[in-house]
C-alpha cells in the first residue's frame, strides 16, 4: 500500500514535489498544506500584474486547488497552517485558518517547502505607516494594486535595489508613478559586481527612477508619508515597497528542533533530508551549497526550488539523488535592459580569498552590419591557475541571458575559459557574430590566463594616473571628445607601429581603448616589439560606468 506524504507549502517546490510524487505512484496519499488561499501561483509574475504588463489576474494562478487536485489526485488544503511537527510520533498539527480548528495528521514522509518571507526591520514609526507594503503573495499583490488603482500615488519609495525592488520600480513607473530607490549598499542587483551594476544605473535614471545609494531608512513619519533616511534626508512617499531581502520561513522547522544554518536556513544533506530522515526541506527556506565553492549559501530562486521538489519526490520513491548545490543563475529585466548572472561574483571570490581573475568585454549581440544589434557587456570570472570558470555576469539590451545560459551550461560541463573560445554557437547575422560574445570572452580570458595579455582593472586606473605612469589611449581622437581618462596620452592604434620611437623602452606601458579589443591589439604590437604592457579590461566603457557620479 501507499505511503502518506505531507507537503507543507503549495507554491514552487511544494507543488512540483506533489505532481512528481503522483507521477511516480498512484497509491501514495499526498496531502499538500498551504497557509494562503492560492497554490502554485506565479510568484515571479506578481510585480508585472501590478504594472499591468500582465493584465489577467487569473493568469497568475498557474494551478488552482481544484484543477491540481483533480489532475494529480491530491488532497490539497489551502488556508491551512502547519503549526507543529511531532517528530517522534511523526504527526503534524494543522490549523484550518477558516474555522480555527486544529487537528493532527500523521505522515510517513514530510516535505517542508515554506519559502522565505520579506525582511521588515522594526523601524521607528513602521507600525503607523499606512501604505507600506511587502510583496510575497497574491493578496499582497492585490493590496498594492488596489492602492495604486484607487489612491493614484504620485511618488513611491522602493527600499532595497534587489530583484523585487527593481521589478517593482519598473512596474510602478509603468503606472506613471515617480519612483525613488533607496539602497543601503553602493549598487543595485547584488548578484552582479559594482561596475556591472553601474551599467544599470544609467538605464534607471534614463527612465526617471531616482537612486539613493549608501543610505537607509531611519524612521517612518506622518503615517509613512515621510521617510527619514539615516543621512537625514527626507523623502515623500505615497506608496512604499519594503524589498530589502528575504529570510527563510523556518520557524516550524526550528520549533521541531531541526538545525538551521547561520542565516536561518534549514540544514539538509545532499538528499535534501533534514537531520530527521523522514523530513525533507526544499526551496527558499533551506541553506544550500554554492555549486562552485561548496560553501553554505542562501539562494532564493525558482529553479532550485522546483528542481529540489522533483528530486525529493524521486528520493521518496527509492531513486538515488544528489543535489550538488545551486549555481544561482538569475536574470532580471530592468526596463529595456537585461541583467543576468551565474556562479560566483567577484565580491564573493574576494571575500573567500580565492585566486581568481576577471575580464570584461562588450561585443555586439549580433553582426555589426545587421541592424538591431547592441553591446553585450560580459564579465567572466575564472581561476587564475586552472582557467576553471567561476562565474559570469551580463548586462545589455539584447541576447544577454543567452550568453549567461551558455556559460552556466559550460560550468556544469566543467569547461574552462579556453573551451569557451571553442564553443560552436549558432550564427547568422540577426542572432550573433561568427565569434559569439561568449567566444570573445573565452579568447580574452585565455589570453590573460596564458599571459599573452596583461590586464589592469578600472579600479587600478586612478593609482596609475596618480603615479604618473604612461597610459596610452589607442582610440581615435574624436572618440576622446565623448570622454577620456585624465592623464592619458592619445596614440590611435593605426599609428602605433609608426610611433613606437616616441615610447620609452624602460617603462611599463598601460594601454586602453573603448571596450578592450584595440587595447589588446596595441598590447600585442608593443609586446612583440619588446615592451612591458598592460591593457585596461573592458576599456573606457567599463571605467566610465564604474566611475560615474550617481
Amino acid at each position: 500500500m501507499g505511503r502518506k506524504i505531507i507537503i507543507v507549502g503549495g507554491v514552487a517546490g511544494g507543488a512540483t514535489a506533489a505532481a512528481r510524487l503522483r507521477r511516480l505512484s498512484e497509491e501514495d496519499q499526498i496531502i499538500m498544506i498551504e497557509r494562503g488561499e492560492y497554490i502554485s501561483f506565479a510568484n515571479c509574475g506578481l510585480p508585472y500584474y501590478i504594472g499591468e504588463v500582465i493584465t489577467d489576474r487569473e493568469a497568475l494562478l498557474v494551478q488552482t486547488v481544484e484543477g491540481m487536485s483533480n489532475k494529480f489526485n491530491l488532497d490539497i488544503r489551502n488556508l491551512s497552517e502547519a503549526i507543529e511537527v511531532n517528530r517522534e510520533k511523526k504527526t503534524i498539527k494543522i490549523k484550518n485558518l477558516n474555522t480555527g480548528e486544529v487537528y493532527e495528521e500523521s505522515y510517513d514522509k514530510l516535505i517542508l517547502s515554506p519559502g522565505a518571507k520579506p525582511i521588515v526591520p522594526p523601524f521607528e514609526g513602521i507600525a503607523e505607516a499606512e501604505h507600506l507594503f511587502t510583496l510575497r503573495t497574491v493578496p499582497d499583490t492585490d493590496q498594492i494594486k488596489r492602492w495604486v488603482d484607487e489612491q493614484h500615488p504620485k511618488e513611491a519609495v522602493v527600499i532595497g535595489g534587489g530583484f523585487i525592488g527593481l521589478e517593482m520600480a519598473e512596474n510602478l513607473n509603468h503606472r506613471g508613478i515617480k519612483v525613488t530607490i533607496v539602497e543601503l549598499g553602493n549598487q543595485v542587483m547584488s548578484p552582479v559586481d559594482y561596475e556591472m551594476a553601474a551599467l544599470i544605473n544609467q538605464e534607471l535614471k534614463a527612465n526617471d527612477v531616482d537612486l539613493i545609494f549608501e543610505d537607509g531608512v531611519k524612521a517612518f513619519q506622518d503615517k509613512g508619508k515621510t521617510i527619514q533616511l539615516q543621512s537625514g534626508r527626507k523623502l515623500n512617499s505615497d506608496l512604499t515597497i519594503m524589498s530589502i531581502g528575504v529570510q527563510p520561513d523556518s520557524e516550524l522547522a526550528q520549533n521541531a528542533n531541526l538545525s538551521l544554518g547561520s542565516r536561518g536556513g534549514i540544514l539538509v544533506n545532499e538528499q535534501l533530508q533534514t537531520e530527521d530522515e523522514s523530513i525533507y526541506a526544499i526551496g527558499d527556506a533551506i541553506e544550500v551549497k554554492d555549486y562552485i565553492q561548496q560553501t553554505p549559501a542562501m539562494i532564493p530562486l525558482a529553479w532550485p526550488a522546483n528542481r529540489q521538489g522533483r528530486l525529493v519526490a524521486d528520493h521518496i520513491n527509492g531513486r538515488s539523488i544528489s543535489y550538488e548545490g545551486t549555481l544561482g543563475t538569475s536574470v532580471a529585466q530592468v526596463f529595456d535592459l537585461t541583467v543576468a548572472a551565474t556562479g560566483n561574483n567577484e565580491k564573493l571570490l574576494k571575500s573567500l580569498n580565492k585566486n581568481y581573475e576577471a575580464i570584461h568585454v562588450h561585443p555586439a549581440s549580433n553582426a555589426s552590419y545587421y541592424p538591431g544589434g547592441s553591446p553585450v557587456s560580459l564579465k567572466l570570472l575564472f581561476d587564475s591557475d586552472t582557467g576553471a570558470i567561476l562565474g559570469a555576469q551580463g548586462v545589455g539590451y539584447k541576447g544577454v541571458e543567452k550568453r549567461i545560459d551558455v556559460i552556466a551550461t559550460a560550468i556544469k560541463g566543467k569547461l574552462n575559459v579556453r573551451d569557451l573560445a571553442d564553443l560552436e554557437l549558432a550564427y547568422a547575422p540577426p542572432y550573433s557574430s561568427a565569434k559569439d560574445p561568449v567566444n570573445m570572452a573565452g579568447y580574452v580570458a585565455a589570453n590573460v590566463l596564458d599571459s599573452e595579455m596583461n590586464i589592469i582593472h578600472y579600479h587600478h586606473v586612478s593609482d596609475i594616473v596618480d603615479k604618473g605612469e604612461l597610459l596610452i589611449d589607442v582610440r581615435e581622437p574624436r572618440e576622446r571628445d565623448g570622454g577620456m581618462i585624465d592623464g592619458s596620452i592619445n596614440i590611435p592604434l593605426g599609428e602605433l607601429r609608426a610611433r613606437l620611437n616616441e615610447l620609452p623602452d624602460d617603462r611599463h606601458i598601460y594601454v586602453h581603448c573603448q571596450v578592450g579589443l584595440r587595447g589588446y591589439l596595441a598590447s600585442t604590437i608593443l609586446k612583440n616589439n619588446g615592451y612591458q604592457t598592460s591593457n585596461l579590461s573592458g576599456g573606457y566603457k567599463t571605467y566610465q560606468a564604474a566611475t560615474q557620479k550617481s
Copy 2:
C-alpha cells in the same frame, strides 16, 4: 627573422588567420591573396542587403584592403588569383587580374582558404538564361540588387531551399516579389529533419512564398523567363536564384596533387595541414570530421572557418592545436521564425545505423502568464544506450537559438540528456520558465532513456490506426475541433482515472495530447495502474505538421 606566409583567400578564415598571425608575430611577412575585389566581407549578410534590411553597402565591407593592411601590417593583394602551387620549390604563381601579369612568390607556409562555390549544373538552356544568379560575393550581390532595382521583377524562382535559398526568398519577398521555391528534396533546410522543417513550410506559405517539393529544373526556356521542371510543370521567372548547394573551390589544391575527399573537400589532419605539412587548408574548402561521429563531413559555415583560421595561425607559431571536428551549429531566420540546429540530425543517424532515440517537445519560450511567449519546438536526439546527446533542432518565434546554443555547449561539455534536466538556466518571466525548454527536453529524454515513458513517433501513427490499435486522445473535446487523428478515442486527461474501467487491460494503449505533456501524464497514470502504454512524441502538433499537405 620572420617567416613568409601566404594566405590564399581573404574572406572569413583567411582574414582571421592573417590577423591572428600578426598578433602572434610582428616579424613575419604575411601576404594575403584574394581573387575578388573585396576581402573580409560580410558573406552572411549579402541576402539582407538585397532585401534592403541592410541599407548601407559599406556595412558589408567589414575590413577594407587599406584598413586591414594598416591595422595588421599585411601585404594584401586583391584581384589576384593564385593559379599554381609548386610544392617542391615552395612557390606559388599569382595572376594579377587587373594587369594579367603572372608572377611567383615563395612561401615558408601556405594557407589555403579558397571557400566554396555555388553548384550550377549544366541545365538545358542555362547559357541563354539572362537573369539567373548565384550568390557568393559582393559583385554577385550588386548584380542581383541592380536587377531588382532596375527591372522590378514580379516573380522570382529560388532553386534550392537551403540557407541561402530561404534567406533569398525572404529578402526578395521583402522587395515585393512573388517567390516560388523549387526543392528537389521533400523539405527545406536540410540540417533539420522532415517534421521540423514542416513547421517552416507554414511560415513560408503564410508569407506568400510558394513551395514546390520533389521537383527540379529540367530546362531554362525563353532566355530563362520560363523554367521547365522535371515534372513537366512550367514556372515564369523574372529573376532566378540558383542555390542548390556549394562545392569546395579546391582546384588549386587538386592541381598541386593534394588529396581531396570523396565530395571534393581538401583533406587535412587535426592540425589542419594537408598532406604537405607546409600547406594548411581551412574553411568551406576542406573536409572536416563530424564532431560527434568523427565521420567525414562538409560543413560550410562561418564559425568553423574563423576558428580554423585562428588555430592555423597558432600552429604556425609553434602552439599545439587540435581541431576536433565540426558540430555544425547553425541558425537561420525565416521571416519571423527561427530555425536552428546542432550536431547530428535523424537522417544522418539513421543512415549510419546508430542506436538513437528522438523526442519532441513544444514548451513556451517564457512563462505562460507573461505576454509575448510562444512555443519553442525542440527535437533532441540521443544515444539510446548512454543518453549522450547527439543533436538538437529548434523551430519557433522566440528564444530558439538560445536553446540550441545551450545544447551545443552541453555537447562540448559531454553532458548527457539527464544533465540537461539539471542545467540551471536564467529564469524570469520575460525570458523563460522555471523549467526551461532545455530542462523539459532533458526530462522527457531521461524518461524515455529510463523507460519511464515509452514513445511512438508521428510516422508510426498511420500504422497504429490501420491495425485498429487503441489510440486515446487525452485533450479536451474542444481541442479536437481544431484537428484530430482519425481513429483516435477521446478521454480527457482529467477523466482518465475515473474511466480506467473502460479500458481493456490486455491491450497496449497508445495515448496522445497536443504537445506530449498531458500524454506523458496519462501514460504515467496508465502505467502505474498496470497498463502497457506509449505516448506520441511531440503530440498532435508534431503529427499535424509532418502530415500536412504541402
